[in-house]
Symmetry: C2
């Protein structure tokens, strides 16, 4: 930040407000014992000059707070219920700690809180942000760009005004999905269904695209929208069985969805994989190994994604790094075969 | 970070709304003393321009950042593996959000990172801190007191130089433990063991004291130190069976420890509760109901503890609250009987 050189001093504030340095200092540090019209004059001078008081002054010298925010655009309850986030945070935490940066996790109850999150991000408390689980119509990316904070996104962001110049880390969701569906085709299955994730997230949309790449003009009733949760997987599987009782394979958009689907198949007396083969996505452990039967799935290295996100951001924050256009990093996926297919 | 230049200013908002800077400032910081049609015009301009108030200026007026730190003195991996923390965070998050405060969770890889955490807390980024899972020799409380930050502790802090003037929220660990052990005595059990938590935490030490209140001079080999985890519970139970094969009851310091103990008892062919009765602590769901058999346990309201911690802190941060000496709040516990006794 180029303001460093011209950073307004306490003296400048005092001169502008027409008061002593001591008065400015008292107002800035709590305002006790300064009459209101005077205090108001000081505050106005502070604001007009853009004076930054003490603690921030220290970090202006180093130009770093040594802290990075992590924002997961989901309610706190989901953050703790879905091991995906714990794994990604593990990778982020390891990398930030190794470079002595404080991980600052900003939790919310829901989307209504995103303006407050953006305010904190803009407030000079962190050097950069790692943001994941974005939904398409979320105002958060715009607010963050408004705050001018270096940011790396987890997952390809999906906003319409272009992704050039945006740093993100993602897995090859579309390619992974194609591999999963081709595997089911290779087993001779013909009525292959897809239980999607929330389609306002690019990861879910990309997996659906991968399914369609292979299945082309398949029966549209074989695609059921779901939400990446076990309960959602149960609901979607029930709807699917009612709608297409002849289904012989299911590609679930993640392992949690697959675990819910497996429960419903068992409950309805369908054998897996004999009657219905099932494939998940993530290779989330212990989930994928603990299902009955253990789950064939598309592995993505979630912890490594977190680690790379942190590494990309820290590199951008390092003044020794030459300027470069931020870009997307897409990690490969691999199919892991277990007893469910 | 060149985007900073294009960040909409207070001036831009004032120009768009056709009002003075002072009026914008007053609306942005709470709106007192601005007539409604004018305030509405400012709010519309703020929204249209995507203006994010400068936190430094804002906190000069309100003297608040609108943010509260939560520090869990455990490695990030344990925070996400133990549902206790998720529950406490749920209560904290609900309460902070209801009062429009940002929850700032500071994660660490371990105790080596506590100095960095303390630096962040002292750096003027938050208004106060909620700190839990402290261990006796942790330097964190001292560092936080050095930072002069209003703090509420989760669990009775155990440092030696007195707890007067320290705000904390705890459960009646000692009373709850007494009730658990008396329940086992009432069932006619005589060889009652205790698998402790980590004894450098007051919650674990207090539960051991409660056990001793009832068992007095019992065989010292019946007490096995453990660590509040399922794997620790397994290890402690194996050690106990090798040492005292005639044990007929176990009071485990928490439900996770009890779940590990139950697995080992089954593995060794001991029937629960016929051969060995088992009691836990927490009434953590789904753990306590999902064990085989379901677990008799001492219920504490973990989410409510979090909520009260947040409420106490926000009250201390409110300038309208009269000065009062911080003190401990101790919540009652209740015994919940299930099939394990």
């Amino acid at each position: 930040m180029t303001e460093t050189a011209q950073r307004p001093t306490l003296e400048a504030v005092a001169a502008r407000a027409g008061v002593s340095r001591a008065t400015v200092s008292r107002v800035v540090n709590g305002g006790d014992g300064v009459r209101e019209p005077l205090a108001e004059r000081v505050r106005r001078a502070v604001e007009e000059l853009g004076y930054v008081p003490n603690q921030a002054a220290r970090s202006l010298v180093t130009k770093r707070h040594g802290a990075v925010a992590v924002v997961i655009a989901e309610p706190e309850t989901r953050v703790f219920a879905d091991p995906f986030f714990a794994l990604q945070l593990r990778g982020i935490s390891k990398e930030l700690t190794a470079q002595d940066n404080q991980l600052v996790l900003l939790l919310t109850e829901g989307r209504d809180d995103h303006t407050r999150v953006a305010r904190y991000l803009a407030g000079g408390h962190v050097d950069g942000a790692l943001v994941f689980s974005l939904h398409l119509d979320d105002p958060l990316p715009g607010l963050i760009r408004g705050a001018g904070l270096p940011t790396v996104f987890g997952g390809r962001p999906g906003w319409s005004d272009g992704e050039a110049g945006v740093a993100y880390v993602d897995s090859d969701n579309r390619g992974g999905a194609r591999e999963a569906v081709r595997h089911l085709v290779g087993l001779g299955r013909t009525r292959i269904a897809h239980l999607t994730g929330p389609l306002d997230q690019t990861s879910a949309a990309d997996r659906l695209d991968g399914y369609r790449d292979v299945m082309g003009g398949a029966d549209a009733r074989l695609v059921v929208e779901s939400d990446f949760t076990p309960a959602g997987g149960e609901r979607a599987m029930r709807a699917l069985l009612d709608r297409c009782p002849d289904v012989d394979a299911v590609f679930a958009a993640n392992d949690l969805t697959a675990s819910g689907a497996l429960r419903v198949l068992r409950e309805r007396g369908r054998r897996v994989p004999e009657d219905v083969a099932v494939v998940g996505f993530d290779d989330m452990l212990p989930v994928a190994e603990a299902t009955d039967p253990p789950l064939t799935t598309v592995r993505q290295d979630i912890e490594e994604m977190g680690r790379i996100m942190a590494r990309l951001l820290l590199r951008r924050l390092d003044p020794r790094t030459p300027e470069e256009t931020p870009a997307g990093v897409v990690l490969p996926t691999t199919l892991v075969r277990r007893a469910s297919t």
